[in-house]
């Protein structure tokens, strides 16, 4: 009976272990599956095509070039590898500039033939039309089967998913925003957190410690939206005032809020690590005439190094993945930041803010999942590399 019970418990433990692993695996697979569709989605809006004059040597435009052409930032074909020829942008609505409504027909039945005619006449034209307005014998080149290239995503400098005709899914502004905010947060919270941990573990009296430790642990339980609100009401105006900024919602505000949020984790984990340093080791140092400070930085911190690194990893993990508080205080401008005092937008904030408005299966939706994958990869790389470093130092 007893043996049977033990087997049962063992089985239950095995089951829960495998369920957890399978769940994690499934989440990762789901993430990457949804994201992989991104590079199969068309560069331009679904159901539309781009038409060029037959004589135009340009056969290939990437997403960013298309956007620049339609925004009027590129005005000549030689800028995208064509001949010296001004670009003439023609959207559906622009057709009325070339033809009267009678010519186009009462129910626009003549659009296909007119569009074809227009394209053949104008050497510098780029035509953007829904597929159904393209005649079978269209007299021009069509660029409709282009799909988004990895370069457009990984090297893209703009995130503008609602841009027409070519939505911009550039990773760089969001990635850099995330890195700036997280880096700032970790630079602020790590020294401070370790200092507090040292104080609590080695210097504070029992009474102070017993008061402070639960208080700090309590901080970890405050919902992030409350931190965001605090940041919005206190930190953002403070930064705006003290740096004389047009807006206070900056990367720095995000860093400060995140630093405050990451502190309890860093302090608790680092302090626990320092308290595991055997009393005998500490005494050995003191007995050799080392002062308390020398003992702390020569023995206790090196001894607790692996614990302190895991504190740092957990802190970074929290900073990189944190969504709500950052969304509230960073200003959410998806532009590549140059200083900490500019608005930025982080990857998690983008996912949270935009997933609701992206239709399932669209390029936008897949791009958001791709962002999720990037986030996953970043945290994975960080934890693996830190584990590697701390292991290497230990041997």
């Amino acid at each position: 009976m007893k043996r049977f019970l033990e087997k049962l418990v063992e089985g239950a433990l095995l089951l829960s272990g495998s369920i957890t692993s399978i769940t994690i695996l499934l989440i990762v697979i789901f993430l990457f599956k949804e994201a992989s569709g991104l590079f199969n989605s068309p560069v331009i809006e679904e159901g539309y095509v781009l038409g060029l004059n037959k004589a135009n040597p340009v056969k290939d435009l990437n997403s960013y070039q298309i956007k620049q052409i339609f925004d009027g930032e590129i005005t000549n074909w030689d800028e995208v590898g064509g001949k010296e020829e001004p670009i003439e942008v023609v959207r559906l609505s622009d057709l009325t500039k070339y033809y009267t409504e009678e010519e186009l027909g009462a129910s626009f039945e003549n659009i296909p033939s007119k569009a074809s005619e227009l394209t053949s006449k104008h050497a510098g034209i780029i035509l953007f039309l829904p597929k159904e307005y393209i005649a079978k014998n269209f007299n021009g080149t069509l660029l409709n089967h282009e799909t988004l290239r990895p370069g457009d995503f990984f090297g893209g400098k703009e995130w503008y998913p609602t841009a027409s005709p070519s939505a911009q899914y550039g990773l760089l502004p969001l990635l850099l925003g995330t890195i700036w905010v997280s880096l700032g947060a970790i630079l602020l919270s790590l020294p401070f957190g370790i200092a507090v941990a040292v104080y609590l573990a080695e210097i504070a009296s029992m009474r102070v410690r017993n008061f402070l430790k639960p208080l700090i642990e309590l901080l970890a339980g405050i919902p992030s939206v409350v931190y965001g609100f605090f940041g919005l009401v206190v930190i953002v105006p403070f930064l705006q005032e003290s740096f004389k900024l047009p807006v206070g919602e900056t990367a720095l505000a995000g860093s400060i809020v995140l630093a405050i949020m990451a502190l309890p984790t860093i302090i608790t984990v680092a302090e626990d690590a320092m308290r595991t340093v055997p009393r005998a080791t500490k005494e050995a140092s003191l007995a050799l005439g080392a002062t308390q400070w020398q003992t702390i930085y020569r023995v206790i911190i090196p001894y607790a190094k692996s614990g302190i690194t895991s504190a740092a990893v957990l802190g970074i993990g929290r900073a990189i993945g944190e969504t709500m508080a950052v969304l509230m205080v960073t200003g959410n401008a998806a532009v590549i930041p140059h200083t900490l005092l500019e608005p930025v937008r982080t990857i998690p904030a983008t996912i949270a803010a935009e997933l609701g408005e992206a239709s399932a299966g669209s390029g936008h939706y897949q791009a958001l999942f791709a962002l999720g994958c990037i986030l996953f990869l970043i945290t994975m790389v960080i934890s693996i590399s830190i584990e590697f470093i701390s292991k290497k130092k230990y041997n």
Binding site: M206, L286, A287, L288, G289, R298, V299
Partner: protein, 250 residues
């Protein structure tokens, strides 16, 4: 001048009166053994001599303890200076998680020695003095944890010797070791006597009689008897001492 001179020492752990009116003198270059049953206060007294008990909150001491004529509990005494003069070896080997070399160099480094060649010389000297050189000379860069327990304990002795203390306190230094390592430590104590004053706490009667010049017997916080080792072991004055050394209790 006496190396250690304790007068009317009373010691308390909060409310617990751990040592009662202890008077004890130790001359230079002698080995003194503290014996007595567990909880008798011998380790507490040992740790008074380098103020290691300061680390325990709620402890209190009255009376005076002089080391080389200086009251070590007087205000204005720097504890780290004192501990440089009074080295300590603990019950369990407690090397730092560093290399063998760095373990021995540690005491020098924390005391502000930066001269590389001096540190190297001193480390080698200390390891030789601790009778460990032949075993570790090829692996000074290796982690101290790679050594056996007995080697680790001798490393801890080398570490204590490196800063040239006047007094060496040993708190049951061989209790966690095998007989062969114990014999080596005892031999070492005999050698070290030439240069250092040694106070050793031990539970092992034979060890006390083998290594020490004088023996102090503690019981329930009191110093019952303190005399030449030969006298204590052959002709104790107190019945309690006799009972203890003959193994009737303790």
């Amino acid at each position: 001048m006496l190396t250690i001179d304790a007068k009317n020492v009373d010691f308390y752990y909060s409310d617990f009166h751990a040592l009662k009116n202890i008077n004890l003198e130790v001359e230079q270059n002698k080995v003194v053994a503290f014996i007595g049953p567990s909880g008798c206060g011998k380790s507490t007294f040992l740790r008074i001599l380098n103020r290691m008990n300061d680390l325990i909150p709620g402890t209190r001491l009255t009376g005076s303890v002089l080391v080389e004529g200086q009251d070590i509990y007087a205000p204005g005494i720097h504890v780290d200076e004192l501990r440089k003069k009074v080295g300590m070896v603990f019950q369990k080997p407690n090397p730092f998680p560093k290399s063998i070399f760095e373990n021995v160099a540690y005491g020098l480094r924390v005391n502000g020695v930066n001269d590389k060649t001096f540190i190297e010389e001193r480390v080698v000297e200390s390891i030789k003095a601790a009778a460990l050189w032949d075993e570790v000379k090829d692996k000074l860069k290796k982690s101290a944890f790679a050594l056996s327990g007995g080697q680790q304990q001798r490393l801890c002795i080398a570490r204590a010797l490196a800063i040239s203390p006047k007094v060496l306190l040993m708190d049951e230094p061989a209790s966690a070791l095998d007989p062969i390592s114990t014999a080596k430590i005892e031999e070492l104590i005999y050698e070290l006597k030439k240069d250092y004053t040694i106070v050793i706490v031990t539970h092992n009667m034979q060890q006390a009689s083998r290594v020490s010049d004088k023996t102090a017997y503690f019981y329930l916080g009191e110093l019952i008897e303190y005399d030449e080792t030969t006298k204590i072991f052959t002709n104790p004055q107190h019945i309690s001492t006799q009972n203890y050394i003959t193994g009737r209790f303790g």
